[in-house]
Amino acid sequence: MTGPGPKPIEVVPSVSHRRPFRPTIKRTWFLARPAYRAYALREFSSVIVGLFVFDLIAGLVCLHRGQDSWRWWVDLQTNPINLTLTVLAVVMSLVHSTTWFKATPKIIRIRRGVHYVADGWVVAQHYLLLALFGVVVYFWLGGL
């Protein structure tokens, strides 16, 4: 071959134009979708149930202090503010329990051969246990 040959290609380092856009999540993200709202309600239910536990601890102390103290605590439950919170606690404790029951099949996996026991069966057992506790308390307190 004669002549000077082809001119070598000049390699110029290219400039990156990357500028990733990073979105930030809003503080009220949990209101945006039905599933997120359900999650927020579930978490909130724990707060309300916790409040009622304080009430129960107070009740236990009053029970120890004698009949008058116990009567005072029982009557306190009929106080309008207390009653409102109690009604809220009834609803929230049911939300708390039902959402928990629905979630248990994710962690309680019982293998039967090459399948897992059906989710509905696991959930049903939990409802049964709740009912059982109700029956136990009912009879322990001597029926309505």
Binding site: H17, P20, Y36, V114
Partner: protein, 250 residues
């Protein structure tokens, strides 16, 4: 032939040109079997060749074409325009991930998370191979088979609010990959994966919202995997107190 047209509203973003993403409308003809991916390709072929998006297999197995369709994370290839008629159909990039350009998101943080959990069978070199090799019964496979269906499509990362709230969170798919191997009878690497999982940004950022499992197109149920992993981590924690030190710290 007069064809139905639908407004497809796509999020655009050119990092070298735009300050922030914006929405652009396109009128797209569609018929009964036009998928959302078909619509995007039609826009690219006929209206705007600069529209950028990931896609490959067209059959919900490669995991490339994840987008937010009207605010819900879905795979573009298995969603049909007919279900979004009369429109507009809003197509945005997957939420909670940084947007590189148009509908393309940055997958590098996820790749790093996946690599960190060692998503491969780890055998114990000190244990002799018994018999003709790694045999596994169908019952043993049941323990991890659902978790192995993950196509890394990242829809779960878009559905999970903790991915946005806890910046270094491993995320549903990465944790599920770890659980898939931990539950595999051929694997002995659980103790190696534990230090990655049992940290604030590992397992414990998860608050069991459960949306990851709701949006998963392959029925992987990452929420279940993560809760099971929490239980395993808790058991390991107890075991460290209850059982004597096992020997060399591997």
């Amino acid at each position: 032939m007069i064809q139905d047209k639908l407004t497809v509203r796509v999020q655009r973003y050119r990092p070298d040109r735009d300050e922030a993403p914006y929405l652009q409308d396109f009128e797209v003809p569609w018929s009964h079997d036009t998928s959302v991916l078909d619509a995007l390709n039609w826009i690219k072929d006929n209206l705007d060749p600069s529209l950028t998006f990931r896609w490959s297999c067209r059959m919900a197995i490669c995991g490339s074409c994840g987008f937010m369709l009207n605010g819900v994370p879905k795979l573009g290839c298995e969603q049909f325009v007919r279900d979004y008629a009369p429109g507009p159909l809003r197509i945005e990039p997957l939420e909670n991930l940084a947007v590189e350009r148009d509908l393309v998101v940055d997958l590098e943080p996820f790749m790093a998370s996946l690599k960190a959990v060692k998503p491969y069978v780890i055998t114990d070199p000190q244990k002799p191979l018994s018999g003709p090799g790694n045999l596994q019964t169908p019952e043993q496979m049941l323990a991890y088979s659902d978790f192995s269906m993950c196509i890394n499509c990242m829809l779960c990362y878009s559905a999970c609010p903790q991915v946005a709230l806890a910046v270094d969170f491993l995320g549903p798919a990465a944790i599920t990959a770890a659980v898939r191997y931990n539950h595999d009878s051929r694997d002995q690497g659980e103790h190696q994966r534990l230090p990655v999982l049992d940290t604030e940004d590992g397992l414990w950022s998860c608050t069991f919202v459960g949306e990851c499992s709701a949006v998963c197109p392959k029925g992987v149920d990452p929420a279940a995997a993560i809760q099971q992993a929490k239980a395993s981590a808790a058991l390991s924690w107890v075991a460290e107190f209850a059982l004597p030190y096992q020997g060399n710290d591997r």
